[in-house]
Amino acid sequence: MSATMTIAVCVMLTLLVFAIDAFSIRRERRAILQVPPQDSLQDPLDPDVQ
């Protein structure tokens, strides 16, 4: 592999890793925001909750 190619691969890999990590945080955030709080999961008509 030529020197230019080696440098290009290293730079690309670094950018890719940052993008993957940022994307995984975004996915984690979406999943967290989609799960409703524990209270809203309880059925208000359920006698056990009363």
């Binding site: 230019t4 080696t6 691969v9 890999l13 940052f18 993957i20 990590d21 940022a22 799960v35």
Partner: protein
């Protein structure tokens, strides 16, 4: 900053609010410095007299290697804080450092090995520094596995804090491996005593690249920590406005 202000940051709603304000600045500064560092590394700095063009890999390799160690030290700091104060912020900060730290360690190993082939003639050698850096990757992966395997968050936090602090012993071994043992890996690129042989423009570029990487990693860890905090305290009153 007053001690009271620092203590206020251990409050979950204060941390969430403050990190939300700091995050765009961290990302912006990291992108700007990263662009300047990359431009200077590729087009401004001169070719190395011994290694030729391939030495430019160090502008990526050195910052990632430093971040792999620094993130572990910061995670250990939060692990220590968690064992003493047991706050949610210290727990999520400790956990949030681990994936980014693992990525940085993997990057340091891969970029180092890509640089090693034209320079040393091999992608990998069981050299002291390389071996301890590989061990760091396994420690990160082990801690991530522990964090995700156990359901009880409080117990996991304590276990994770202890394991993280135990793993800290590997960091001085990585850093001083080039001093303690006869290694193929070169000595420190920059030293506190100012004994660096690098040209000033190379040193300045490396410093900018390290700063950009540090800000980028801080932004990633902080972003991950604040959402983990929301998830952990989803039944608390302060998360009501966030989870709407």
């Amino acid at each position: 900053m007053r001690p009271q202000s620092i203590l206020r940051l251990s409050s979950s709603p204060v941390f969430f609010q403050m990190s939300g304000k700091v995050l765009p600045w961290l990302i912006g500064a990291s992108l700007i410095l990263g662009a300047i560092g990359l431009w200077s590394a590729l087009f401004v700095t001169p070719t190395d007299a011994q290694q030729g063009e391939v030495y430019r890999v160090l502008y990526v390799h050195v910052p990632t290697a430093w971040m792999s160690m620094l993130l572990y030290v910061v995670a250990s700091f939060y692990a220590g804080l968690h064992l003493v104060f047991r706050t949610s912020v210290s727990a999520v900060m400790m956990r949030a450092m681990l994936p980014t730290g693992a990525w940085m360690t993997l990057l340091a190993l891969v970029t180092g090995s890509l640089w090693g082939k034209p320079t040393w003639g091999t992608y990998w050698i069981w050299d002291a520094r390389l071996t301890f850096e590989l061990l760091l990757l396994f420690i990160y992966l082990g801690l991530i596995a522990v964090a995700s395997l156990i359901d009880d968050e409080r117990k996991t936090d304590q276990l994770l804090s202890v394991f993280t602090l135990v793993g800290l012993v590997n960091i001085p071994l990585i850093y001083f491996s080039v001093v303690f043992w006869n290694t193929l890996h070169q000595g420190a690129s920059l030293s506190m005593s100012g004994g660096s042989k690098m040209a000033p423009i190379m040193k300045a570029t490396l410093f900018v690249c390290v700063l950009a990487m540090w800000l980028g990693c801080a932004a990633l860890a902080m972003a991950r920590a604040r959402w983990q905090l929301v998830d952990r305290e989803r039944d608390a009153a302060w998360t009501g406005s966030v989870l709407v």
